[in-house]
């Protein structure tokens, strides 16, 4: 489903190989800046790799990425962040030696052009939005997995993103915790932030995603209305098995 988007992401022909393994095989992908796209797919399908490619974590072997019609293929992750595309990491990567506040402040100061007071405000807002008020002064090193994931989210939010790339932030959450998370994401949707969300916990994802993509072996095998994708036999075979529906 690639269509020219004047306001959003357009990725064409993405190819990425790690050594002899090709992880992304001519991926074409596009989204509007206000869309919420879910990505599912078996382990090792290349979801995280796609996200990293969109976020600019590495150089592609081939292909191009346009953001609001601007070519960002050669731009590094930090430049893309400044343009409003920011990601979280599947395995959280906190700044261990700094407090939660300082962690988020770095993002608020560098992700977007803001003076000091504004940066503080962005930081506090992001901390509150991701429910970390009680640990604001804690050293990130001492956080548990859940708070680490929240910190990933808070940091991303503090950069005032236009498109947020989320990678398995609900994995391992209990039901109540995921309810909370979904509420937060819905709030972001209200603010008009576009979202790409990779998640294996499909029922959580479905509460937010308006569109679903399924990847397998470095290719997009289905893309469209979530229920339709989930009932696509290819998706069932590669991803769902008998587990859901």
């Amino acid at each position: 489903m690639t269509h020219a988007v004047s306001n959003g992401l357009l990725a064409s022909d993405l190819v990425k190989n790690f050594g002899s393994v090709s992880v992304l095989k001519n991926i074409n992908f596009s989204m509007n800046a206000d869309e919420a796209v879910g990505i599912v797919g078996p382990n090792g399908a290349g979801k995280t790799t796609l996200l990293s490619a969109l976020a600019g974590a590495f150089q592609l072997d081939q292909g191009s990425i346009l953001l609001n019609n601007q070519d960002v293929t050669e731009k590094c992750a930090s430049a893309r962040c400044n343009l409003g595309v920011v990601r979280t990491h599947q395995i959280p990567k906190p700044f261990d030696g700094m407090t939660v506040f300082e962690n988020v402040l770095v993002a608020a100061s560098y992700g977007v052009d803001a003076d000091k007071q504004t940066a503080y405000q962005h930081t506090l807002n992001a901390i509150q939005l991701s429910g970390m008020e009680h640990v604001a002064n804690r050293q990130a090193e001492s956080l548990g997995l859940l708070d680490r994931k929240r910190l990933e989210l808070a940091r991303a939010l503090a950069t005032q993103p236009k498109i947020l790339l989320l990678d398995e932030i609900a994995g391992g959450l209990t039901e109540a915790e995921s309810v909370q998370l979904v509420d937060t994401i819905k709030e972001l949707r209200r603010q008009g932030i576009g979202i790409i969300w990779i998640e294996h916990i499909v029922h959580v994802l479905l509460q937010v995603a308006e569109r679903l993509i399924c990847m397998d072996s470095g290719e997009i095998i289905a893309d469209g209305e979530p229920q339709a994708v989930l009932s696509n036999p290819q998706v069932v075979k590669a991803y769902l098995g008998g587990g859901i529906e």
């Binding site: 393994v21 382990n43 997995l145 209990t174 109540a176 029922h203 590669a238 098995g241 859901i244």
Partner: protein, 243 residues
């Protein structure tokens, strides 16, 4: 006869008491679902049992022998095997090498490398692949296989399905069911309640480092478990659960 007995176990992370005064007795053939919220202390508890983390107080006995002070590799030799949270494979080594490593302190028993490949047929074509580049499901299977190679009496599985696709979760549980037939004692951590309730014959719930519920699965209800999950704050939100 009890095969694993834990008495008043305290485990700390520095200042933080992650496991507090936990006691538990396991009988041969038990399949225990260990349930609890994030940070409840499940992983810490299981790591203490397997010797990866030394407890601050309390004792652990395996088949009547004191193992509290034993280092983890000796516990493997004594019949305890852990599939750790996050799989923890040796990613720069092949599947075969990982499995062989599992046999380092092996006891005699039915498991050997060929048998593992029989049980996990999808692994056999990955025999000489480095595990770091394999898919999550294959990795999880390798991790289980690696633990089985030591022919354990007790197999502990921490968050077996975390981050796995539904299809792979299915596969893992199918494989687990095959294990059940062999009368191995199993402790299993699983956030997906329905799954856990399906395979286990006993439920243990942890809350803030303590065991708050321990009953045969046939006697517990979903609500009871949910209550135990959150202590007093009862939250009943059943979102479109897996059908």
């Amino acid at each position: 006869m009890s095969c694993l007995q834990v008495n008043n176990l305290d485990v700390r992370h520095g200042q933080l008491a992650a496991v507090r005064g936990v006691s538990m007795t396991l009988n041969k053939g038990d399949v225990v679902a260990l349930i609890g919220a994030n940070g409840a202390g499940k992983t810490t508890f299981l790591r203490a049992i397997s010797g990866a983390h030394s407890p601050a107080a309390g004792t652990i006995q395996l088949n009547g022998n004191e193992i509290t002070k034993l280092s983890s590799h000796k516990r493997v030799a004594a019949g305890l095997a852990l599939v750790p949270e996050g799989r923890k494979l040796f990613s720069n080594m092949t599947t075969e090498e990982n499995l062989l490593l599992g046999a380092t302190s092996a006891r005699s028993g039915e498991w050997n490398i060929e048998k593992i490949f029989q049980v996990f047929p999808n692994l056999s074509k990955r025999r000489h692949t480095k595990t770091g580049t394999m898919s999550g499901g294959e990795q999880q299977a390798t991790a289980i296989g690696r633990a089985l190679m030591s022919n354990p009496d007790i197999l502990i599985l921490d968050e077996v399905s975390l981050g796995l696709s539904p299809l792979v979760v299915d596969q893992v549980y199918q494989n687990l069911e095959r294990l059940l037939a062999t009368d191995t004692t199993i402790i299993l951590v699983e956030q997906d309640l329905s799954r856990a309730m399906k395979v286990a014959n006993r439920a243990i719930c942890m809350l803030e480092g303590e065991i708050v519920l321990d009953k045969p699965m046939s006697l517990v209800t979903r609500d009871e478990i949910t209550d135990a999950y959150f202590g007093l704050h009862k939250i009943r939100t059943h979102n479109g659960d897996a059908a």
